[in-house]
């Protein structure tokens, strides 16, 4: 899963999809995850990074990461690796 190339991410957590006109806001940890996804980091690497940085347990990260990733999909800001951007 990757963030679509055209998605704009600002440092204040503002997310804009110029193709659809949709805009979103993310909290700081959400922004961090999106930036790592933009850098093509794998899910496992990102989760490991979060676990090292924040006071949180592994199960919570698993659950919340899964949920966040689903929301990114639902809001159509990501694309799967296999699928070419249309």
């Amino acid at each position: 899963m990757k963030i679509k190339k055209n998605i704009a991410l600002s440092d204040t957590g503002f997310v804009f999809n110029p193709a659809s006109g949709d805009s979103f806001s993310v909290n700081p940890i959400g922004l961090e995850i999106m930036k790592l996804l933009q850098e093509n980091k794998s899910h496992d690497v990102i989760k490991k990074h979060l676990l090292e940085t924040y006071s949180v347990d592994k199960d919570t990260i698993e659950k919340d990461f899964y949920d966040f990733a689903k929301m990114l999909e639902q809001f159509k800001v990501t694309e799967t690796d296999e699928k070419k951007e249309s």
Binding site: V15, D22, S23, F24, S25, V26, N27, P28, I29, G30, I33, E52, T53, Y54, S55, V56, T60, D64, F65, D67, F68, K70, M71, L72, Q74, F75, V77
Partner: protein, 452 residues
């Protein structure tokens, strides 16, 4: 290295140009204490969920209502509407403030007597008073508010048989310009039923007609409707004076003033828009004062205000069981209380605050209760910070009707505590247990055992 504080990652769609009608900012400011007692410590000691009542808020609200009426009208008497919240500790705070009791059933009547209210200060309302109830009320000289003709005739018979002169009022229903009109209780004003009933009582000369009563509806948002009702009751009282030279001692305007809650589907917050006691008092007292009574013949104004006096003083504390994502992407939070203990969530969008500090990020959610039923929805839309399992929430303005209409369904009823004026916490109703639940059950002998 010290790790950073964790907050669940969130992404939320921004709807530019649209006001977010589902959550006002104030809804998610954390509410960590009630009258200086921490929510955490209350839940730790008494469990979750937990009803909390602020004695200070009850007394302040009562004083506010009393002031609003007494500064406008010379003779005012509140009668605590038992069905709104009949936990004895709550009733007695009102009685200590000077309230009489208003009851609508036999058990409420005896609750008031047991609390120490003199019979003559218990107003007995409602369509279903048993013969035993009526006899007790007659013996104790309680004002009986007659709901229908069958009751009127029954009272006439009892008066003769008991050789007493019961004190009665009639309940009058009427058109006050608000819809729906509550015309199933009492006798109608416009079609002459009420005047008829009055004549029947006075001419039969077995009952002492002391008052006139109306209760035009509940959660009324229109003070002027009370002005109309007060004029119509005054008109009947003056008609009695003219025809029979008899003074009616009191006009009872019932209850129904809106509390600070927000009705479902209403765009504005009730706390900002609902009328206050001054507005209701102005409308009622102006109508009676201008009706044409002689100054020494002004009737006592009785008020059976329920929800507006207790709603604000009640809180429900609860905890998060789990978070889920619904198929349409909305967040759903499951709490350990549902419509079983919060009946009023069918009517109101209750204000709900997290009980712990949070960052600035919020998300739109649905709040569900723990029952295995689809209707168990506490809030369909609410904006809250990300809540995690075992976090606590505070529901506001739940003092009215929840602690009487709560269901013992799937879950047992929670404990109720009262925080006194010195911020000391008192248990005023114990958490129910299985023993309590089964105390009324009887298992026939042949069903006592089985083999599986």
């Amino acid at each position: 290295m010290k790790k950073l504080q964790y907050e669940r990652p969130l992404i939320q769609r921004l709807n530019t140009g649209l006001m977010n009608k589902f959550g006002m900012k104030t809804e998610y400011t954390p509410h960590t204490h009630i009258d200086e007692v921490s929510v955490k410590s209350l839940i730790k000691e008494f469990g979750s969920p937990l009803f909390v009542i602020s004695e200070r808020t009850i007394r302040n609200t009562y004083k506010e209502a009393n002031r609003a009426f007494k500064t406008r009208y010379p003779k005012v008497q509140f009668a605590w509407s038992y069905k709104t919240n009949y936990i004895n500790a709550v009733c007695n705070v009102f009685h200590q403030e000077g309230s009489w009791a208003e009851v609508v059933s036999g058990f409420e009547y005896h609750k008031a007597l047991n609390n120490g209210v003199p019979g003559s200060k218990i107003i007995f309302n409602g369509p279903d008073k048993s013969e035993d109830d009526l006899r007790a009320a007659i013996n104790n000289e309680s004002p009986i508010h007659i709901d229908h003709l069958d009751e009127l005739y029954h009272l006439n018979e009892l008066a003769v048989e008991m050789n007493k002169r019961p004190k009665v009022a009639i309940r009058v229903n009427m058109d006050t310009g608000v819809y729906p009109m509550w015309d199933r209780f009492g006798f109608n004003y416009e079609n002459g039923q009420a005047w008829d009933a009055i004549n029947k009582i006075i001419l039969a000369d077995k009952l002492d007609l002391v008052g006139l009563h109306s209760h035009i509806g509940t959660f009324m948002l229109s003070p002027s409707a009370y002005g109309v009702a007060a004029s119509k009751l005054s008109d009947l009282a003056l008609g009695i004076k003219k025809k029979y030279k008899k003074n009616i001692l009191y006009l009872d305007m019932g209850g129904g003033f809106a509390s600070k809650n927000t009705l479902k589907g209403s765009f504005l917050q009730g706390v900002d828009t609902n009328p206050n006691f001054d507005q209701f008092a102005e409308s009622i007292s102006t109508a009676i004062l201008n009706a044409g009574f002689g100054t020494d013949e002004l009737p006592l104004l009785v008020l059976e205000t329920g929800r507006a006096l207790i709603d604000d003083a009640g809180y429900l504390l609860g905890s998060v069981i789990s978070n889920k994502r619904l198929s349409d992407g909305r967040r759903a939070t499951i709490l350990d209380f549902g419509v079983n203990v919060m009946f009023t969530s069918f009517w109101y969008d209750h204000k709900i605050s997290p009980a712990q500090d949070f960052g600035n990020y919020t998300e739109d959610s649905v709040l569900y209760g723990p029952l295995c039923m689809n209707i168990d929805v506490i809030r369909e839309h609410i904006t809250l910070p990300p809540l995690k399992r075992n976090d606590h929430v505070v529901v506001h303005t739940v003092g009215a009707y929840n602690m009487t209409q709560w269901m013992q369904f799937i879950a047992l009823r929670p404990a109720v505590v009262m925080i006194d004026l010195k911020n000391k916490v008192h248990l005023i109703r114990k958490r129910e247990n299985l023993e309590y639940l089964e105390a009324c059950e009887v298992k026939p002998d042949y069903l006592k055992s089985f083999k599986l």
